[in-house]
Symmetry: C2
Subunit: 370 residues, 2 copies
Amino acid sequence: MNTDPLGRFHCVIPAGGVGTRLWPLSRAAAPKFLHDLTGSGTTLIRATYDRLAPLVGDRVMVVTGQAHRLAVLGQLPELDDHNLVLESEPKDSAAAIGLAAAILHRRDPETIMGSFAADQVIGPVDVFQQAVREAVCTAATGKIVTIGIRPTVASTAFGYIRRGERLDVPGAPSATHVVEFVEKPDEEVARGYVENGDYFWNAGMFVAPVSLMLAHLERNEPELHAGIVEIAEAWDTAGRDETMDRVWPGLPKIAIDYAVAEPAAAVGDVAMIPGLFTWDDVGDFAAIGRLNPASENSRMTVLGEGARVYSDRASGVVVSDTKRVIALIGIEDVVIVDTPDALLVTTKEHAQSVKEAVAALKASGDVDVL
Amino acid sequence: MNTDPLGRFHCVIPAGGVGTRLWPLSRAAAPKFLHDLTGSGTTLIRATYDRLAPLVGDRVMVVTGQAHRLAVLGQLPELDDHNLVLESEPKDSAAAIGLAAAILHRRDPETIMGSFAADQVIGPVDVFQQAVREAVCTAATGKIVTIGIRPTVASTAFGYIRRGERLDVPGAPSATHVVEFVEKPDEEVARGYVENGDYFWNAGMFVAPVSLMLAHLERNEPELHAGIVEIAEAWDTAGRDETMDRVWPGLPKIAIDYAVAEPAAAVGDVAMIPGLFTWDDVGDFAAIGRLNPASENSRMTVLGEGARVYSDRASGVVVSDTKRVIALIGIEDVVIVDTPDALLVTTKEHAQSVKEAVAALKASGDVDVL
């Protein structure tokens, strides 16, 4: 056993989720994590990898859909085939993260894993990395550790983590117990959480010994656990594809929060490190404006290589995935997303409603553009 | 000489003007008159021809740019080559209408001509035609006759015609003298004009004996007159192209209003017939909303074959020249014009400012989309 917990730390990057509220930029064939949404010149998945690599080197596993294999390898050419888990169909986060845990456990049962979604924007990187280091040290004491984000607004879009008493972990001075996970609140409740100071956003970041993850999964979702263990046993053998194809489609669909995090918190197995970095899940196009520092001195945020935008008394966000000239006149807080086969025009205020538009297009049979 | 003035009546359709405020739909390569802007299934130039044909049969001449030859013939296949005047470069309305007058005069000096722009929307057609008939009867008494449009709002976008005493012309009970033409007024002055009742919009419709048009042109613009007469003499001969190419580029650029109408009014040679039909010059995209009856019961006017528009809490005008899906969410009175190489997003209120956008694009070198 490696006595430095960081030496047995592996990262898992679940790269799922279409990012419906970012349609038509993000869509089934080109989901959110494959885009550069911050004007940094880097896709979100590549930025996620680069943020973790200083901690784990090449000990990174990615879980994504089969359709995204080439795109992911294009972004992460250093990724080994054995560390790319391809889902034939989406099975929610418990199956994705659970299978990664089972594969890592089979390779080394002492492994500590960290799961970090592929489509989040985080900075400064060193503050994030320090939080992860604390989380790893805390996980080594036998905890499932979540990194909670200090809320900046009374958001109703996230679940919250209620932290408890301080833990006393060497190398993790800010570690605390977690009392409970709470569902997305209404606005009044959210305001109370922010004032209280003990509530943090649940960003879905988990660091834990793989053995502990699997133990909770076995207790709460025995069928799911049996399936992923069967796949994991075949993973580094010639039987990988056959087993995956046979077992995966039958796995139950459940979120890791329900399958592991909440029941584990109930028995006192969950700890938290406060994440004091800035964090954004780029939930909608209004976020694009916030996240593009280039736009600080301009009323118009423009994303897209070779975008040709003319604006007159206009403000907002333009995402251009074409080389068309876009002329905007006399329109405030607009959101325009221009792609070869679909155009979205809305406002920052209505950015959340893009989800319903996608649902309506789906219902009306316009699936070619989804 | 044909004693029925309608028997010697010929129509001229000047088809010039890009319609800059309708960019990017209307542009140098596909100007306004080549579009169906009313959802009627008919381009503006074809509708203009069809409105005049019952009065003149095939006695129609079109003046347009060389670049539009094929497009115009595509719209008006019945047009004879001898009645299609192609400008190698735009020379404003006095040269265009003057040359038509000179050609018609050379063929028959007793001809009465009527000039009607190719890009106006008019209805009901029988009311228009009755006004033209009155104008022709009045012209036959030796007048340049304009058809003035009764103003419906205090517009500052048009020049006005001030009518004078009633004339006593058989077959033209509503004919009056014209006291003067006045330039585009400011809003207060325009309100006064509308209340007064004797002011009409100048829609640029002129009906006149070609001999009288040419006499005024000779007096006011002798150089221009000499040039168009020289071209007209060669027009129906083998020397047409050579003469046109040699003489046209040197002609002075001046509007027919300054070269003929205003000076003719000053000497009492201009009469007016009030046009009691509805009239719209489709000056900007706000007009598209007004002119499409299909939209009466909808908050969204959609123009374009095969347009795929999804709208949620949105209103305005969409002109689609692509097959893209267009999703609009939470945006009122929007104007969206979607073409393969350029996209315009503005509001009805700012529809007039499209002109400045085009000027800015020109200045910045984005001429490929103009």
